[in-house]
Symmetry: C2
Subunit: 201 residues, 2 copies
């Protein structure tokens, strides 16, 4: 995957949100970087502020936290999705999230500084505000669903829902990561799976 291809993929994806004209795209793309992240390397760690947002051209990452020495997976991102320790990025304060490549991953990134510059540039400001709004709103919807599921559903129900809506996660992620994502331990998920299997029989 070369940089030009990656940029084209990114530009294509952005059409869902924003329609840049040529002049705008040139300005915008000057602030973009193309970078690779080797498997098991980190996009963000809690020690420092996450000062950038990435777009996954190719590959996948997981978000996790460390609690009492234990690694707890909270989320995943795949191709054609953005990634960031979002709160850390927005507030410019250290987060509590590790973001790690699960395979060799190619990214388009821009820093908070880039974004601030674009937001201050009259040629881009309007579209970047809109871009930021639409991205934030989209993630807000995901988060809303997730919070509601923790409040109204049992772990088993969350797993059953994942079976219908989470194909990508189920297909590509090891089960103990999925367990954490559902808010339970791997052992517990294994039991739930057996219960579900026996019910289906």
């Amino acid at each position: 995957m070369d940089q030009a291809t990656a940029l084209n993929l990114f530009r294509e994806h952005l059409k869902k949100y924003i329609d840049f004209n040529e002049a705008e795209w040139i300005l915008f793309s000057q602030h973009l970087s193309f970078s690779g992240l080797k498997k098991k390397h980190y996009f963000a760690t809690p020690e420092k502020v996450c000062d950038k947002v990435g777009f996954i051209v190719d590959g996948s990452v997981r978000y996790f936290h460390i609690k009492d020495g234990q690694d707890i997976t909270g989320y995943f991102s795949f191709e054609n999705e953005f990634l960031s320790s979002y709160k850390s990025y927005l507030t410019s304060s250290p987060g509590y999230t590790y973001i790690q490549a699960l395979e060799d991953t190619n990214l388009i990134t821009f820093t908070r500084r880039d974004m601030d510059e674009m937001l201050s540039n009259p040629m881009l400001a309007y579209k970047m505000e809109r871009f930021g709004r639409l991205i934030a709103e989209q993630y807000l919807c995901c988060y809303e669903d997730r919070v509601v599921s923790f409040i109204t559903q049992t772990p088993e129900e969350r797993y059953l829902q994942l079976l219908t809506t989470g194909r990508e996660i189920l297909r590509r992620m090891p089960q103990h990561y999925i367990a954490n994502y559902l808010g339970i331990t791997p052992v517990s998920l294994s039991r739930i799976r057996r219960r579900v299997m026996e019910t289906v029989k």
Copy 2:
């Protein structure tokens, strides 16, 4: 509380996000409505699309869901906070959230249609995009914290954290609502409280 006072409070609050000049404020405020919501009345119900966003000038509301005939509280909003069944508003699709006034509440509201008109009005578009972005980003941060707490903390730990960060909720909300908010049953919260009390002794 009269309309002029409410509008001034709202304008004051908005300064945290946006600085409107006089002309802009006149245009913007034309799209605002002032309304009262009597205790126990609904701001939103799942049967229909939530087509508006409100700002609480005075009062409080709770968000809840109904599952198997049971009412499960998911969130609260107080004075100087926005309220909406956000995903329903953003996607113009029916939600699964009831929003109910816990006391007589005064609101400033604007509809999705109002917002769309403002976003299409060149005189306001830029500031409204920015406004929408900043609001969405702020709520995103809250949601991120909430999701992380469900994944990394036990119910007891979530309660202990609420003791330090959730004064307003603890002071004003009945305990069975708080229990749902923490993802557990009222009976379980009562037990946790006893455990915590005995540990402190």
